[in-house]
Amino acid sequence: MSESINQAPVKVAVRNLTKKFGDLLVLDNMTFDIHRNEFVCVVGPTGCGKTTFLNCLTRIHEPTEGDLYIDGVPADPRKHNISFVFQEPSAMPWLNVQDNIAYGLRIKRLPQAEIDRRVNQILDLMGLQDSRRKYPGELSVSAAQRVIIGRSFAMQPDLLLMDEPYGQMDVKMRFYLEDEVIRLWRELKSTVVFITHNIEEAVYLAQRVIILSNKPANIKETLTIDLPHPRSVSDPRFIEYRNYITDKIKWW
């Protein structure tokens, strides 16, 4: 399958990115671009270094060699409007739902009226209006995860990073939130990097799927999904893409 050329400017430039933990080589000399307003899904085997890649992009870890650039300058969460949905539960247990959603907005020192407006909008979007004063410990796993996703959406980030965000959701909620992330991406014209184990999800969402190899991670293939949104999972071409990626993964 072919890769079409994206004309948009580069949002994230990864240059010779290498990450080692001691002697353990996790990311091996990766170089690729993610374009502005692109929706990219990253699939790869368990433990290959997907999370490590995002952690380098957000400077949770420093790269061993090479670097990552956002809008042409070295990535820096203090400068760039990044939002990261972590793989593990990450709601603040001592903040209620609405304060959790406002958490990042307060760090960015937005005016209170704007914070209130966005929090309300997110509560509606995530179906959390009734639980706005509850604490994460009182919520179901799926609802707590929606709080985290809502917290990220509220930031209206221009770079949204999501690390297997929908793993804990039931199918119905998953479909709903997949459509929501597409809507958000369209409305805000943000750039999305979405990690998933679910191939169907990747084909449903992504403009481009980056398939990673086993650890140490390198790009095995980049695949452009040339289908318009919204997509239908029963479309023969959808199935073709899905089977193609599944076959690739069998080589792992």
Binding site: I82, F84, P89, S90, M92, P93, W94, N96, Y103, I107
Partner: protein, 277 residues
């Protein structure tokens, strides 16, 4: 959604009534335990099994307590004045220990520099039993309120520091990273994530500190005092009045329980998110 709200509410109400009944049962059992204990004690006194001169009956102690509310004999103060004097000593030492110990522990747990700088001193001071400070404190500060509060301070300080230190060290990396990716500074992460996540441990430390403060009171008031529950006990011993001694002990116990209850209330306010599951 398809969940029947009415049914849910009904079941919740049922659960609450059942819970209430159970609670009542447990309370009754506790009261029964105390009554049985007092009953046996009283019986031992009445039958002469225990010498009332050495172990007065509960009723006698109760009478002494009532008497002490309005009378100053034999120690020179009413019960209330003694209680106030003790509270003043214990709470000032305890308060200062919190004010210094908790921030110190939090800073040491968060900033490596503070940790490396303070820890050797702290580790040196930590194993010294608080009572061992008494002679030194007397030389330094005499035997006034300050001296006694200082002894209390030493017993309360250590758990405050250790728990705050450990509590903040256990802050989840993920929650720190969430804040980092939103662009928060280290200091902002310290007070927005570190402190709230350490709070349950901090309160556990404060609880230990309160227990220590109150139980070291008698020892602190052995440093000559003119009022206080520990002082009253001392006098009771000198004039061979076990009922005064026991009345003092009972007051210490009861006041301690009240203080602990107050602390629980404060803790409940701060840790609503923890207690509300």
């Amino acid at each position: 959604m398809a969940i029947d709200q009415n049914d849910l509410q009904r079941r919740h109400a049922e659960y609450l009534t059942r819970k209430k009944k159970e609670n009542l049962k447990y309370t009754l059992l506790s009261v029964l335990g105390i009554l049985l204990f007092l009953g046996i004690w009283q019986l031992a006194s009445i039958t002469g099994l225990a010498d009332p001169k050495r172990l007065p009956a509960p009723t006698t102690i109760f009478q002494t307590l009532i008497y002490k509310v309005g009378n100053t004999a034999p120690d020179g103060n009413t019960l209330f004045v003694n209680m106030l004097a003790s509270l003043q000593v214990a709470l000032s030492g305890f308060g200062v220990a919190i004010l210094i110990g908790v921030p110190l522990g939090l800073f040491m747990g968060w900033w490596e520099y503070a940790d490396r700088f303070m820890r050797p001193i702290f580790e040196l001071v930590r194993p010294v039993p608080p009572i061992a400070w008494i002679p030194l404190v007397v030389v330094w500060m005499g035997i006034g309120l300050q001296a006694k509060a200082m002894i209390i301070f030493f017993t309360a300080f250590v758990p405050c520091v250790i728990n705050s230190y450990t509590g903040i060290k256990l802050t989840s990396r993920t929650l720190i990273n969430v804040s980092k990716t939103f662009g928060a500074s280290n200091f902002e992460i310290f007070y927005k994530v570190g402190i709230p996540s350490a709070l349950p441990m901090v309160f556990a430390g404060i609880r230990v500190a309160l227990g220590n403060s109150w139980s070291t009171l008698v020892a602190a008031e052995m440093l000559a005092a003119s009022a206080g529950l520990g002082y009253m006990i001392q006098i009771g011993r000198t004039v061979a009045r076990p009922d005064i001694v026991i009345a003092g002990m009972v007051t210490i116990g009861a006041t301690g329980a009240v203080l602990s209850g107050l602390l629980s209330a404060v803790e409940g306010r701060f840790l609503k998110w923890q207690t509300r599951h």
